[in-house]
Amino acid sequence: MDALKQELKEFIIEQLNLEDVNVEDIANDDPLFGDGLGLDSIDALELIVMLDKNYGIKLTDPKQGRAIFESIDTMAAYITEHRAN
């Protein structure tokens, strides 16, 4: 689980071009959107595609994203439970 969380942080920093953010700067329970890391709706689309591409998880209801992408903890938990690859 810890390796997955590390992987997610690295992906978010690299894929979403968070130039001034390091892996250590993101706590596992930090909010990813809004006041936390400050991600926005376009980032949410990037994360949905990432779930499909990297873990074989298709989100049929985008509204699910709100809970799944709340933090690194919630993302890792969802991926662990639903991953296909």
Binding site: L16, N17, L18, E19, D20, G38, I42, L45, E46, V49, D52, K53
Partner: protein, 354 residues
Amino acid sequence: MKQVYINSVASISAQKTFDNAEFLNDFIDHEAVVFPVVNPDYKAFIPPAAARRMAKGIKMSIVASKIALQESGLDQVDAIITGTGMGCLRDSEKFLSALIDNDEQYLTPTAFIQSTHNTVGGQVALELQCKGYNFTYVHASNSFESALLDTKLLLSNEEENNILVGGVDEIGEHTFKLQELVGHVKKEPVKASELFESNTSGAVYGEGANFFVLSNEKQNNSYAELVRVKMFNTLPKDQLTETIETFLASHNLKISDIDLVILGANGDADYDDYYDILSQGVFKETQQAYYKHISGEFNTASSFGFWLAAKTIQSQILPAVVKRNDLKSTGFKTVLLYNQYRNENHSFTLLKQC
């Protein structure tokens, strides 16, 4: 019809040109087949959250736009007009590569929404919060001139009063490889200072963003008056001299009235003959300047030439690094720019001291 003035300039180029207090004081003698840009501190101009999705061309343009707007003394412009030959090439390549690599699956939005030619104009408008006329001209090496012509018409007809106009192009890795493959780029690195002695095929490439605020009201610190810009898609070699003479005559000018001719020669032995016709012909007794050995060649490199002309007229100084002959004008009152790329998209741009 009102006259049109260049009220501010800004340049991001392969030289340290982003500081308007300087004028090519320190020449960087690049040795390469593509000249890299001297980057300003982008973070000082663009909030990190906004910058993270911006490719090089957008960042360069926003910084140049902000410098130009600041220098103009205006809070806002009425319109933003952009010229770009290739648009946001890097994100186009990124999106298309992902399309191929992922077998048309898993396509993400960021690169796609930033990949269109008018992304630059849109992003500059967002940064400046300008909700006015916004247009992008994409016409190979006449892209900047097309933007300039629209700007001039709008200002002359008083449809707008202050316009931000610019030219921008960025290097895209894949596209550059294709340009190398078809022989548009020199095969060996060339020193900037020796480009015109290389006598080889192809050009040395570059990238950059040059933005200007043009207005139909003259200011005390206006750089120059933009008298006219004229474009030709094709122009036979044997008609070049006569066409320039006719162009000047339409403004009651003769060749001898031109204090400085700025030519867009790029050191390509196969295509610089147009410039040679002029430099060794009618403009033999005129002071001459070249600039693509310091900017590199790109579709909107002529906007760097425009920047050079404006700075020269305002300062009445022609930096040694761009001088092409030893003739010295008594002053730079009337300056003509001529540009073409691979014998296509010719342009004449006439500027006057104001």
